[in-house]
């Protein structure tokens, strides 16, 4: 029994203990939930570094617990989107095939970083992970602030929306332009002959990040589905949730059977319970905000997180 408890709630030296630890954890869960309700992002890219910096949770346990947390949040979101018919199941199947393998490889890579690259030294491994998160968050800020490109297709002439525009060929997405390997027809107009290897490779690469850093993919997978696969915006979110759910489940399975326990159920469940309340607060508050400035607000939050990580990396 004590062995099972050790596997479900591994012990580690934290910055706080007892009630203070769980109170901070619940505050963190509220914040992550608020971000989900307000901006519609999973928040995995903030949860892991904050668990490590604020609470002192070792990175490997923070990643495992975050993946377990993602199972809870993404399953709920996926069911909601599925009932609304906003999931492209073929894309889920193709990309998840790669991301499941990637999540398993990512966990092996994390062990390699801990034991071979960092030589088992906690401080070195923390620095590596901090650097990876700074790079990822800066990339996220770049994606957020980059203005969306002009949509193709005929333009209205003389203000008449029904006026015929110049004849143009339908635009192919980057994955349709790849000419090698098998192709698959997705269940959406204009998304025929999409490269299967390309989708599996994308899933594999994002899956590696899931296994190493515990990021779900809302921040990476949604832009990939929009820009590379060419899915419409209303289906990108639900499809991403399906992929993320499967990748996170594979990551949790790999981490749960590894030699050292890497998932803390108390952390996962505290975050899940608090985030439900945070999501409701976020949804309520978003109705009173100017949505045109959303991206800037979100970028500011991410830059704040980068500042915190750099402060911990360079000064503490």
């Amino acid at each position: 029994m004590s062995e099972l408890l050790q596997l479900l709630a591994p012990q580690f030296a934290a910055h706080f203990s007892g009630i203070a630890f769980y109170a901070t954890l619940i505050l963190l869960g509220l914040m992550i939930g608020f971000l989900t309700g307000f901006f519609g992002v999973g928040g995995g890219f903030l949860t892991v570094p904050l668990l490590n910096i604020v609470l002192g949770v070792p990175y490997e346990i923070a990643v495992g617990s975050d993946l377990s947390f993602i199972i809870g949040t993404s399953s709920s979101g996926f069911l909601r989107q599925a009932t609304l018919g906003k999931v492209e199941y073929k894309t889920v199947g193709c990309i998840a095939g790669g991301s499941i393998a990637g999540a398993v490889v990512g966990d092996i890579l994390q062990d390699f970083l801990i034991f071979s690259v960092a030589g088992g030294q906690r401080a070195v491994f923390n620095s590596i992970m901090h650097s990876l998160f700074v790079a990822l968050l800066l990339f996220t800020v770049f994606i957020i602030l980059k203005r969306p490109g002009q949509e193709g297709g005929p333009k209205a002439q003389n203000g008449d929306p029904n006026a015929p525009g110049p004849i143009s060929r339908p635009r192919l997405t980057p994955l349709q332009r790849l000419h090698f390997g098998p192709k698959v027809d997705l269940n959406h107009d204009g998304l025929e002959q999409v490269n299967l290897f390309g989708m599996i490779l994308i899933g594999f690469l994002v899956g590696i990040l899931t296994g190493v850093m515990g990021i779900g993919g809302g921040v990476l997978m949604v832009p990939i589905l929009l820009l590379l696969v060419g899915l419409p915006a209303d289906k990108a979110s639900g499809t991403s949730l399906g992929i993320v759910f499967l990748a996170a489940s594979a990551g949790v399975m790999k981490k749960a059977i590894s030699s050292t326990p890497k998932i803390s159920l108390p952390i996962t469940m505290s975050l899940l319970v608090a985030s439900v309340i945070g999501v409701q607060i976020g949804i309520h508050m978003v109705q009173n905000f100017d949505t045109s400035r959303f991206r800037r607000y979100f970028a500011l939050i991410v830059i704040g997180a980068v500042g915190l990580i750099l402060f911990d990396l360079l000064i503490l």
């Binding site: 399953s75 909601r80 749960a256 159920l265």
Partner: protein
Amino acid sequence: MIKIVALIIHIAGPLLWGVGMFFLFEKLHQRRTYQAQLLRQNQKGVHRKQKRDE
């Protein structure tokens, strides 16, 4: 064996929570929609009655 039990708990715990929350909020949403529909029907009835009285 213990690892398998831990694995099931690590996946089933959050999954049950997520699915449970989905059904809870769906139920709340349906209830709110139903109440709003009842309110609209009620208001329509009040307007009709006022017109008849006039």
